[in-house]
């Protein structure tokens, strides 16, 4: 168990709802859910979610901490915002799903090998290097995330796609060597480090 996870368990041992309200993005909205299920019925990948937003909200109130934070459901959010548009109580459900996923990752409870959790890390690392996304390296990192052998298989399976994109000048092999960048990369990294420190301190302070 990570140190932060232990500290949070200790601090909020009787109320997972309070923990979510204090530490999860837009978490203070969870108690407003009236369990109508419109979110569950509106989610484009709802069939794949073991725990729909409606269920997650009830589980949070029921104190099912481990089950919520280790769920892979919220990692299947496509950010379509259907649930936000339709929620009769006006809950910012998409943001709460993002917030729960991020908080689970922060505590080391996100499911290992969840493909979108892995992709989100690859994406963030990619954009932090140059301040802009390098699409070629992003694609290659996704292909090779499960090792070299699997990477070659993935790359071969998508060879035609890559060639099509290059022919249309919508992918550039030269991006492998450097590629697009902002000028002030070190400034951007410094700024984000500061933002992370502020956020970490806020959550540590709650632990």
């Amino acid at each position: 168990m990570s140190d932060l996870n232990s500290a949070m368990t200790e601090r909020y041992h009787n109320s997972f709802l309070r923990e979510v309200e204090a530490n999860v993005e837009e978490g203070e909205w969870v108690k407003m859910c009236m369990q109508c299920g419109v979110c569950a019925g509106s989610c484009p990948l709802g069939n794949a979610w073991e725990h729909t937003p409606q269920k997650l909200f009830m589980m949070i109130r029921a104190g099912k901490r481990e089950a919520v934070l280790s769920s892979d459901s919220m990692w299947m959010c496509t950010s379509c915002y259907n649930c936000i548009a339709r929620c009769p109580r006006g809950l910012p459900i998409t943001h709460i799903m993002h917030g729960l996923a991020h908080y689970a990752k922060r505590l080391g409870l996100a499911p290992k090998n969840q493909p979108t959790a892995q992709f989100s890390q690859i994406f963030w690392d990619n954009l932090m290097k140059k301040g802009r996304v390098n699409e070629l390296k992003l694609g290659l990192s996704v292909y090779f995330k499960d090792g070299f052998g699997q990477g070659i298989k993935n790359a071969l399976a998508n060879k035609q796609l890559g060639q099509n994109m290059m022919k249309a000048k919508r992918m550039n092999a030269m991006e492998f060597f450097g590629g697009h960048s902002i000028k002030d990369t070190s400034g951007l990294q410094k700024m984000i480090k500061k933002a992370q420190e502020i956020e970490d301190a806020k959550i540590q302070g709650n632990s």
């Binding site: 484009p44 950010s79 915002y81 959790a117 963030w124 802009r132 994109m165 933002a195």
Partner: protein
Amino acid sequence: MAKKEVSYYPGCSSQTGASSSNMMRATQTMCDELDIQLNEIPDWNCCGASIGYGSGGELPRLTLSARNIALSEQHNPGQEIVATCAACWLSTREAKERLHEDANMFRDANTALNEINLKLNNQTPVRHMVEVLVEDIGFEAIKAKIKKPLQGLKIASYVGCQTNRPFGIAEESFENPVYLDHLIESVGADSIPTYEKKVQCCGGALAFSEPEKSQEMIHGIIEAAYDHGADLIATPCPLCQANVEIYQDQINARFGSKFNMPVVYYSQLMSVAFGRNSKDSALDGQIIRAKSLEDIAGK
């Protein structure tokens, strides 16, 4: 029409050699014709898109967009920020609103920005290019510019998610926005008002991480366009365009379909209708050629 200047946020995928560089080229052509001057935000950075939340966290993510808004306020003062990418627009507008509503978050974002001597005033409107077209230019002014109407083309308007939810275009419904149908009609083509996949999700970023689940949704988007006799699908969103166009081979292999449906941007439709050639309209950036548009552009 007086020249309109905007502070332009193109986004990562619009850069040369990137996946929606074709959108960038057609946007430039369309704006030249409409007398809109795009003043790029100097040294803009990635917005974090809809997948940055996993590792990024709330404040770091909002700070990414705060930097872009602050740079815009410093270098393009008095100009509205305009984005063409759905995710860029959504992230930037979301940051602007969240930092407006939450004084602590606003203070914290400025503390981070202070590391690089930037300051966010957060007084700048953040708009989508479609809002500029619909609200500032207007359908009548667009119609007046048409040199080559796209007569006889039947075009499915695929609006997708993030140009539509959670903010949407003013006065439009989330379930059935009609601005894209109006744009399609303004350039002389036929829209398909009953196209039922208009606001269906394509999977977004999950097209990379969950290809099976996403391609099932994309299959439905294309199949419905065929069912309505569409010649083309048109969309405002770079990720919708890519997801619906580039995986058609893989979808055909997976589902036994024979899809070969061109997917274009509204800006490409407008560029062709304004009389510009295939290259200016970025039709050479298609993976599935839009032959019907090339024919009109070549006339």
